[in-house]
Each structure stands twice: as structure tokens, then as C-alpha cells.
């Protein structure tokens, strides 16, 4: 790796971290013609905050008006919709409804509505109880009123960043996985970066290290300009049979601290309830606990009574890279050729493309960039249930994961190409193998055999004849 990295010569920009933000930043800069290198410490991309979220493409209706977050969420939203067909990316046009369950919450809908209008989201509609239940007949009749936000959509949180990075790679970006940034010095207008795979030189650096953004900040500047305080969100995924119970994202009236527990369809044809908001120190351990899972199940059945007794497919948690302050911790230090994109807490999936354009403009000094229509198009695997999945096309060899209908052809594709899956998580995010209702009862051994020798950590502990 060291030799390879050296052999590639010096880079214009080094992006630290291949979360959704780093992937989008790499794409933007590569499309501007920059020679980009992405350093990711994990065996695969999306190893941090970006591996577990609610997958909602936000309109920014509730963002702090006039903030960078507001601007980037909306720019990201627009660009996603503009590029998605050329990248084969799904969108489920669910709309969302903020539901008021108490008179007090009904009163707060006014303020939410005026923020939405101030934020340029003008198509919001107040709905009364009857209209709510007409739209979502399975919703608990305890719902009092709501605010419909038609533009809130659901996307695939993993194929999108993968597509951004592949597009960057098609413009010669280098992606070094298993490569941790350890330190760096800025001298004579260039960065000399010290990495776990040897030294790398780049003119500019963009810190997109998410949950480790403050650590990377310190390793580069000698100072922590902010502190990451991970905020965990736990989720429960219901069986696909639940999907027909709900078509719209159901949001609560938010509190100061969190957007609250959401019930949302997914592009994979599931129904999701979560996330919670639990502060913790650990930046890696995205664990769930039984009492929280049980509380989420109860909450879900409160909102949608038909969910009582619905089988659970999976539980997971994601860690938000929150900081001591609410806003994005974006910093551009021109004298250091350094941009820090820190504290992208709870809207980064949507804002990534907007943040990327902001960074690209800052580094290149130009707002202009190759229009999306000129960017190389490429097709990432389609995992969305409402689109034509691979198994619908004959010649797939074998269906390996029956619950999610994952074919051997898909698994082989995910293990090859310019950015093959680096670990089991990466394989799951690229194919959904093992992510269905049986959680690998039927397919795990087969997947272990198909991936033997291909992943950083093998699925099996050994062979029978060892």
C-alpha cells in the first residue's frame, strides 16, 4: 500500500474519511478536475456514522433558518434528485407528516409551519384528524392533527455514497482503505500526511472524519476546535409484511434536543422505528439494549396499532457525530489549505452533496463545476424493492439470500470492481445478504463460503479439516 500510494505521486486534495460526507466531497472535487485521494481507516467505506441512519432525504423544513445546515440540506436535496437517475439511485416519494398527539403539540404545529415556509418549503399542508386518517388509515386514531411535508423522501443510505465515490474514482480519485491518518505537517504550501500506510502528500486536506473529526483536527492542527460527543440512535426494523401498513414518514413534534422517534418506510420494503438519542463516550460501539428495543416496539404500536405482534427483522444503532453545539462545525483555513467538515450530526445523508459543493467552491475558489449531466454516469446495484432487482433478470446463477432475494451474481459483483466490499458490513450494504427476516439462518454459511478469502475478517473461524 505504501508503495502504491507513493507510486501515485502527490495529490491536489486528501479527503480524510469515507463516510457519506467524504464520499460526496471526493466526488465534487474530482468532478472539478482535482487529483483526489481518500483515506479511510476502516476496511470499507461507511464505517462510522454513515452506517446506520434513518435514510430520509430531508427538505430542510425544520432546519435552523439561514444556517449552513439549512443551505446544504437543500442544496444536497436538489442535487440528489438531479443526479439520481444517472447513478441508478432510488427515491421513495413518501412525504412526511408531523403528527401532533396532544393539544400542546397541535399548538406547536403553527411554529413548525412558519419555519418551513421561512425555509422555502412552501408546499407544506396542515391536515386535520380526518385527513390524516384518510391518508394513513392504520395510524392510531389518537392522532389529533398534522403538518404534511410532501417533499420528505426516503433513499438508500448506502448506495448513494457508494455511487458518489465510484464517480470520483472514474475521475481518477484514489481510495485507500485500511489507511488511518495519524498526523500531518503543512510546509511550503503542501501537506505531508503521516498515515498507517506511509506518507502521502497533498496540497489541501478536507477533514471528513465524522465521529473522529475532533481527533483528526488535533492531529492536523495540534488543537481540537470542537469535541465530538457521540449520540446514539437505536432502531428496530419490522418484517416486510409491515410495509403495507404505512406509506408516509410519521414524525413527532420535535423537542430541543432531538427530532424524536420516527416511523418510516424504507426503500428496501421494511418499516423502521427509531432513532433514540442516547449520549455516550464510545465512538465505535453502536450497540442496542433490550429495554430500549422494547420501548421502541411499544412506541411503534402506539403510533400504528397494527404493528403489535409484527415480527422484528433486525435491530441496529447509529452514532451521530454530535458536538457541544448544535450547528455544523465547518471551518475553512485558507492559510493552511485545510477544510474541516465536522459535527455533521443528523442531516448528513441529505446535506452531503450540498456540503461537498460548499467545500469544492471554497477550495477551488470557483462556484462553477461540471454540471451533473456531464458527470460520468454509472450504475450502482439497485436494492430498492420498488425497482427492478437483479433477481428479476434471468441468469443470476442462484438466489443466495432468500429473504432479501440476493443473487450470486450480485454477491460476485459486490466482491469485484473498483471498490469491492472490504468486510461483511460492506457486503451487506452493497447486497443486503443476511439483512432479512431470518438474519442468516438460511444463507449465512453460503455467504461465508462465497466470501472466503475476500474480506478483511473472514466470516468463518476456520475450516472443518483444520
Amino acid at each position: 500500500m505504501t508503495q502504491a500510494a507513493r507510486g501515485m505521486g502527490a495529490f491536489d486534495v486528501a479527503v480524510i474519511g469515507a463516510g457519506v460526507v467524504g464520499c460526496a466531497v471526493a466526488r465534487d472535487l474530482a468532478l472539478r478536475g482535482a487529483r483526489v485521494v481518500v483515506l479511510e481507516k476502516a476496511p470499507d467505506i461507511l464505517a462510522g456514522a454513515s452506517k446506520g441512519n434513518s435514510a430520509i432525504l430531508h427538505t430542510g423544513f425544520d432546519a435552523p433558518t439561514g444556517s449552513l445546515e439549512h443551505a446544504c440540506v437543500q442544496a444536497g436535496y436538489r442535487e440528489y434528485l438531479a443526479i439520481r437517475s444517472s447513478l441508478n439511485l432510488p427515491v421513495l416519494e413518501t412525504g412526511a407528516v408531523v403528527v401532533a398527539w396532544t393539544e400542546d403539540e397541535v399548538a406547536r404545529l403553527d411554529a413548525i409551519e412558519s419555519t418551513a415556509r421561512a425555509n422555502g418549503v412552501g408546499d407544506v399542508v396542515r391536515v386535520d384528524r380526518a385527513a390524516l386518517l384518510a391518508r394513513e388509515p392504520n395510524l392510531s386514531p389518537r392522532a389529533l392533527a398534522g403538518l404534511l411535508v410532501p417533499g420528505e423522501h426516503v433513499i438508500d443510505p448506502w448506495s448513494a455514497p457508494l455511487a458518489y465515490l465510484l464517480q470520483a474514482m472514474s475521475r481518477d480519485a484514489a481510495v485507500l482503505r485500511g489507511t488511518e491518518l495519524l498526523g500531518g505537517r503543512f510546509e511550503a504550501g503542501r501537506w505531508r500526511l503521516d498515515t498507517s500506510a506511509g506518507p502521502i502528500e497533498a496540497t489541501a486536506v478536507v477533514n471528513c472524519a465524522g465521529l473522529h473529526g475532533d481527533t483528526v483536527d488535533e492531529r492536523l492542527t495540534g488543537r481540537r476546535h470542537f469535541d465530538i460527543r457521540p449520540r446514539k440512535g437505536q432502531f428496530v426494523v419490522f418484517d416486510k409484511a409491515a410495509a403495507r401498513l404505512l406509506g408516509t414518514i410519521v414524525l413527532p413534534v420535535p423537542t430541543e434536543r432531538t427530532k424524536g422517534i420516527v416511523l418510516t418506510p424504507t426503500v428496501f420494503g421494511n418499516l423502521l422505528v427509531g432513532p433514540t438519542a442516547d449520549e455516550q463516550e464510545d465512538r465505535e460501539r453502536a450497540d442496542v439494549d433490550t429495554p430500549t428495543i422494547e420501548a421502541l416496539l411499544e412506541k411503534a404500536a402506539d403510533i400504528l396499532p397494527a404493528l403489535a405482534g409484527m415480527p422484528v427483522t433486525a435491530t441496529y444503532a447509529g452514532l451521530r457525530p454530535a458536538t457541544e453545539r448544535k450547528e455544523y462545525r465547518y471551518r475553512h483555513e485558507p492559510e493552511l489549505n485545510l477544510v474541516t467538515v465536522g459535527g455533521i450530526r443528523s442531516t448528513g445523508l441529505t446535506a452531503a452533496l450540498g456540503l461537498a459543493r460548499h467545500v469544492g467552491t471554497a477550495i477551488s475558489g470557483e462556484t462553477h463545476r461540471t454540471p451533473p449531466s456531464d458527470a460520468p454516469s454509472l450504475a450502482v446495484p439497485v436494492l430498492a424493492e420498488h425497482m427492478a432487482r437483479d433477481w428479476t433478470r434471468p441468469g443470476y446463477g442462484e438466489i443466495v439470500c432468500h429473504c432479501e432475494m440476493v443473487t450470486r451474481r450480485e454477491i460476485e459483483a459486490a466482491l469485484s470492481g473498483p471498490l469491492p466490499a472490504g468486510d461483511i458490513g460492506g457486503l451487506k450494504r452493497r447486497t443486503r445478504a443476511g439483512m432479512g427476516r431470518c438474519q442468516g439462518f438460511h444463507c449465512q454459511a453460503r455467504v461465508a463460503a462465497l466470501t472466503a478469502g475476500r474480506l478483511a475478517v473472514p466470516m468463518a473461524a476456520g475450516r472443518c479439516d483444520d
Binding site: T392, E398, R437, Q439, Q444, A460
Partner: protein, 339 residues
């Protein structure tokens, strides 16, 4: 472009080629009900016994003690020689009203119409997620079904020192499977006060020197890449962590009832299985339910006998129907596309 589906019809379509489906198909073919098509999504027919490397299977059915794989082979041979048409690598994607099935095979999609359908899709053990066990999600957390497939189908070992959860017969069989492959369970835990499997089988892990903890549940699983340990909570409230490199969740069977749950069949709210009457008929008069998918969690021999009993009901039902014009022979017929 994908071509449209092939349109096929048959007299009876059996979904699932496990002991129940294969015994039903054998009995139906022998009863001369016309074309009997057995569809299974796996590459080989036989169901769960295919990967049960151990005896005893087949004592009552075939009068001898067989291992799972040879029992499965025997079931296949019988069904074929009776005249049933076995199609593997055929996934049923949807079960629709009026005896229609949406089927996918590597060669393409099939719109299948059958006069009667036997649903025999078996059961599976519930996953760690379905049991709401906390912790991280490292490699090495699996069910017995996967353990057997690792060992017997792929020649791979998923872990070396697992914690085993559950003392139903399948949990005890998992202990013996482990020991035969040099895997040393660190302990067996059981939420109940005593073993689920009957004495004296329940003594087996202790005899093998493996500690058994009753009134104990797995609270959470730790580990980043692979399992590093499990936190146990005992009935008296004490909590302790046990080092292990895997957690095997055994038993707690749930019916593999997706086709019913996502389709139109009525479910039994207690078991989540498609409801059936004494003859095995579901809420759709075209569809019968056989074997473990009925919510039973019983042995292969029971499933075999259940399949045969359901087949008798299906055959009687078909005989009572006005005879429709149909081509002779045991091959499924191509038919015109129709709405």
C-alpha cells in the same frame, strides 16, 4: 429487456421440498391426481435434514436409522419414482388467490396456476434480533440451522468456543454437533427453570462437562469484529460476563410463513402460522398447509406423516371436483396467458 413469464399449469403445486412437501408429493403422485410439481428455492431438494449430519432420521418412515442427508436423498428418490416433478432453485415470490403462484427460477419467471397448492415451507429458529438481545453485532452470532450448513454443506467452522442458548432438543443436538467438530461450547443457558427437552436427553451437556445455567438469559453480546463475550443475567438478578467467540441461538422456532403473511392467507395470531382446519386447509380453499410451517416445530418424521395426511385430504378434494379437461401425463402444461 426481460421476457414475460412462462405460463404453466399443473394439478398440485407443492411449495417446499422438505419432509412434509416431499411426502405429500409422493402420496399425491401415487394417488394419481395428475401433475404434481414440487418447487424448492434451494439448489437441492430435502429441506432441513439435508444439513443435519446426524442420525436418527427415518426410523418410522423407512424402517432404518439414517443421517439427515441420506434421509433427504431417500425422500427425493421416493417422490421422483412416484412421478412427482421436482424443481429446485425455484423461489416462490408470491402466493396469490385462485391457485396462482409467482415463481422465479434462474431461467426466468413463471406464472404458475395449480388446482391445489400445498404450502410446506417449514420453520426456522428465531434470530438474535427477534429475541431483542442487546449488544453489538459481531460475527459469530448464528442459529443451529446456519451452524449445520457451515459444517455440513460448506466445510467451515463458524466459531470454536460458543455460548449455546436454549435447551430444546435442537439445542442439545447443537451441543453434540459442536463436540463432533472439535467446537467446545463454554456453557449452555436456558431461560426456564429446567430443560425444554425431556430427561434424560437434557442431561447430555452436563455429561459432556459443559456447564448448564437455568433461569439465565443473554442480556447482551460484545465484540467488534467477532464475538468476544456475552453478558448473562441469572434469575437472582446477578449479571456476569462470559468470554466466548460465538453465540448460538437454538430453537424458539417460528414458521417460515412469509408467503402467507405477505399474501392473503389468514394467520393464527398465536403462532404466526397460516391457520388450517383439521384437513390441513387454509383460509383459501385452494391452499393446504403441511409440516412445520403449520406452527408445529416437530420432528422430521412428524412432518413426513403430516404431509401424507394432508395429501390424502387434497386428493379427496380433487376427486370431488368436476373433472376438468386436462392433458394426460406428468409434465406441467404450458398454457395461454390469462388475467
Amino acid at each position: 429487456m426481460t421476457d414475460g413469464p412462462r405460463h404453466l399449469s399443473c394439478d398440485v403445486a407443492v411449495i417446499g421440498a422438505g419432509p412434509a412437501g416431499l411426502s405429500a408429493a409422493t402420496a399425491l403422485a401415487r394417488a394419481g391426481v395428475g401433475t404434481v410439481l414440487v418447487l424448492d428455492r434451494e439448489g437441492e431438494a430435502g429441506g432441513v435434514p439435508r444439513h443435519c449430519g446426524h442420525p436418527p432420521f427415518g426410523l418410522r418412515e423407512f424402517g432404518r436409522v439414517l443421517t439427515g442427508p441420506s434421509y433427504a436423498a431417500r425422500l427425493r428418490d421416493e417422490a421422483r419414482s412416484a412421478g412427482a416433478d421436482l424443481r429446485t432453485s425455484h423461489s416462490i415470490v408470491a402466493l396469490l388467490p385462485d391457485g396462482r403462484l409467482d415463481v422465479m427460477s434462474p431461467a426466468g419467471r413463471i406464472d404458475l396456476r395449480a388446482r391445489r397448492i400445498v404450502l410446506a415451507t417449514g420453520m426456522r429458529e428465531s434470530s438474535r434480533a427477534a429475541r431483542a438481545v442487546g449488544g453489538t453485532r459481531p460475527l459469530g452470532v448464528i442459529n443451529t440451522g446456519a451452524l449445520q450448513a457451515y459444517l455440513h454443506l460448506e466445510g467451515l467452522v463458524p466459531f470454536r468456543r460458543p455460548l449455546i442458548v436454549g435447551t430444546e432438543w435442537v439445542g442439545l443436538s447443537a451441543v453434540s454437533t459442536c463436540l463432533r467438530h472439535g467446537i467446545r461450547p463454554v456453557a449452555v443457558v436456558e431461560a426456564g427453570r429446567r430443560a425444554s427437552a425431556p430427561w434424560p436427553f437434557s442431561l447430555f451437556p452436563r455429561l459432556a462437562g459443559i456447564p448448564v445455567h437455568f433461569g439465565t438469559v443473554v442480556q447482551s453480546i460484545a465484540g467488534r469484529e467477532r464475538v468476544e463475550g456475552a453478558t448473562l443475567r441469572h434469575a437472582d438478578g446477578t449479571v456476569r460476563t462470559l468470554a466466548c467467540d460465538g453465540v448460538l441461538f437454538t430453537g424458539a422456532f417460528v414458521p417460515e410463513a412469509t408467503l402467507a403473511r405477505t399474501g392473503h392467507l389468514r394467520l393464527d395470531p398465536a403462532t404466526g402460522a397460516p391457520a388450517r382446519d383439521a384437513a390441513g386447509r387454509s383460509s383459501d380453499p385452494c391452499v393446504y398447509v403441511a409440516g412445520n410451517v403449520s406452527g408445529a416445530a416437530r420432528s422430521a418424521g412428524w412432518s413426513f406423516r403430516d404431509g401424507r395426511a394432508v395429501a390424502a385430504a387434497v386428493a379427496a378434494d380433487l376427486r370431488a371436483l368436476p373433472r376438468q379437461a386436462q392433458a394426460a401425463g406428468d409434465r406441467p402444461r404450458e398454457r395461454e396467458a390469462q388475467p
